[in-house]
């Protein structure tokens, strides 16, 4: 594509050049169609089929997953705790609530501070409300000792809000909203990009002060939930704009675009090239220049001071072919775009 971009004439175009450019444009379109339609896009977007056997390892109804003590009153079970990542994932404007449940007596293994490991029986839930309608609650359940042993499932709320039912194949425009519920196999596109599989519950994401009753890094150890004591928090470097931009890219892009992705036996929906690394690491927060983001973004994917000439801005400013994120979003995050534009412009 860069080749074709260079062929674009400047100034008054020569008719011959226009003809060549037009032919190249047509050829590019034809190639694109052929590549997409013949499955050559598998490297990027094709998932493995939904694992029916794995789906059978979690209950069919949300009310049976252990989230609620009393579903009718939305009273949570005693061992369920809420938490809030400091850099949330953009979900097309949906409001989200998150909870975690650790098995009694278990601890989070924080030996690798960037890849926490969880005991079998650990569960995470995330509830999505779109336009005032509670649409779905997603479950991540650890069903074995290995890093791979997670089961993902979306539960689609019924019309009267009494319960949610497992939807392993997802749903489009669920409950009359514009919200799409992902199929279980699509969860791999983000969660299998990190060894931990858990993305929003990490040392960096929990380092911000939390609201009353919510889990934060500061109180994890105090409550005896970590295998070894964690005495510090991890502050993302930079001024307010830089911190926000680094955090935004970490939460929205870093789970795929990072250079420490675990190997995968099968397709996981999205396999980007790994020249980019947008995942923040606890050991690389001394300065902004110390972060993988600054070391890999400039000047190939963003040009300091020139947001309009930065591919990273262009990608998140559109939807459709070539947009980012390539899964899980149909609506542009205008605040996120403005944030990244401001960040690049101020550099």
């Amino acid at each position: 594509m860069r080749l074709f971009a260079r062929l674009r004439p400047r100034g008054r175009p020569n008719p011959c050049v226009r003809l060549v450019v037009s032919a190249c444009g047509s050829l590019r379109f034809a190639l694109l169609v052929a590549l997409l339609a013949t499955g050559c896009n598998e490297r990027y977007w094709v998932c493995a089929a939904v694992d029916e056997a794995a789906s059978g390892l979690v209950p069919r109804r949300l009310s049976e997953t252990g989230l609620y003590e009393d579903r009718a009153t939305d009273r949570m079970a005693g061992n369920v705790r809420s938490y809030r990542p400091q850099f949330p994932l953009w979900s097309d404007g949906a409001e989200k609530k998150r909870w975690v449940s650790l098995p009694d007596g278990s601890h989070i293994d924080t030996d690798d501070m960037d890849n926490w490991r969880f005991a079998a029986g650990t569960k995470f839930w995330k509830e999505f409300t779109r336009d005032g309608v509670r649409v779905e609650t997603r479950l991540m359940a650890k069903v074995g000792a290995g890093d791979e042993d997670w089961v993902f499932m979306s539960y689609l709320w019924n019309a009267d809000g009494t319960d949610a039912v497992a939807a392993p194949y997802g749903a489009i425009d669920a409950r009359g909203t514009a919200h799409d519920v992902p199929a279980a196999n699509e969860c791999a596109s983000c969660h299998r990009g990190r060894t931990s599989r858990v993305l929003g519950f990490s040392a960096i994401q929990l380092s911000e002060l939390s609201q009353v009753g919510e889990i934060a890094l500061a109180n994890l150890s105090d409550e005896g939930l970590t295998k070894s004591r964690v005495d510090r928090t991890f502050v993302v470097p930079g001024d307010d704009t830089e911190r926000a931009a680094l955090g935004y890219l970490h939460a929205n892009c870093g789970d795929c675009h990072n250079q420490s992705r675990p190997s995968a036996a099968g397709p996981r929906c999205f396999e980007p090239r790994n020249e980019l690394d947008l995942w923040l690491r606890t050991g690389a927060l001394a300065s902004v220049e110390d972060t993988p983001t600054y070391q890999t973004v400039f000047d190939r994917f963003a040009e300091r001071g020139h947001p309009d000439q930065s591919g990273i801005v262009r990608r998140i400013s559109q939807r459709g072919f070539g947009s980012m994120p390539c899964v899980g979003s149909e609506r542009i995050d205008e605040e996120g775009v403005a944030l990244l534009r401001r960040w690049i412009a101020e550099l």
Partner: protein, 310 residues
Amino acid sequence: MQRRSFVLPLVWSLFATLSRAESPAIDEPAAPEGGPLAAPSETRAELSSLLGFASSPFFVPEFPEVSGQVLLLRTAVARRIAPSVWLGLTMPLALTSIRQPAGSYVDEAAWGNPALAIQHDWSGFTEAGVGFLSVARASLGLPLTEHGPRASQMANRALALADALQALREPSPYTPGVASLTLAYRVDLASGPWLFGPGLSVPLLVRLGEAELPSTQTRAIGLRPRADLRALYYPKRWFGVGAEGSLTFDVVRVTEPIRPDDARQRVQPSLRPEIVFDGRRFRVVLSCLVPIGGPVRGSAGCGADAALRF
């Protein structure tokens, strides 16, 4: 001489139009008097392909729409059983990458309904010297496709994409759980370098299985007739360019789309520009098929049909 120049396109035109429908591959009729086909073939085989993007309304609340990439393949063989009568078999296959709710894709392959067909043709020249070829056909679609599980509807979704990619022109191969009887008639006229003519296809679908779809969404009988008008220009005897316009009307659907807006749309126009290479023993057609508005707007595909007769 002029008569002879259009006999070959006329003969092949019969194959080009009707083999795309629910029929098996067909061959030339008995050669018109004075025509060049001294050795009419007894058997023919065909491989058709169509590749592209498709989107379509769908039938269940979880999936009110389906979209994805599709490669349609169809093999067909036919055998002459009487001077003007052919018997044949068609087998369609849809290879799809179905778009999932979050935007990724998952592959699904689905066989379509095979069809058995019998065809009668008649050709000749009018007193004004215009060649004509008239073809009547009846085909029986066998209800062998599968729906896939109720939760996923994967096979159903793949077949809906296949149906959309070919602009809803042929419901019988791509409607799961139905047997079908299709009656079709076409006449082509040839004058100088021009070949043109109308066609009509009337498929009657009888639902035998429901894939656990809500009963309000299904009917026992479906009817989706199609009218075609085609014109081809042959600057050379072996080379033609042209287009076929079609209008499909969903009179009665066996399965209603879940969205009311989709259910209200019943007419599907489409256009198929094509380039034709005719030989005595082979034919290759390169074409694109584009729905114009209608329920499956946004779909588009291009492909090639290759046929041999021997």
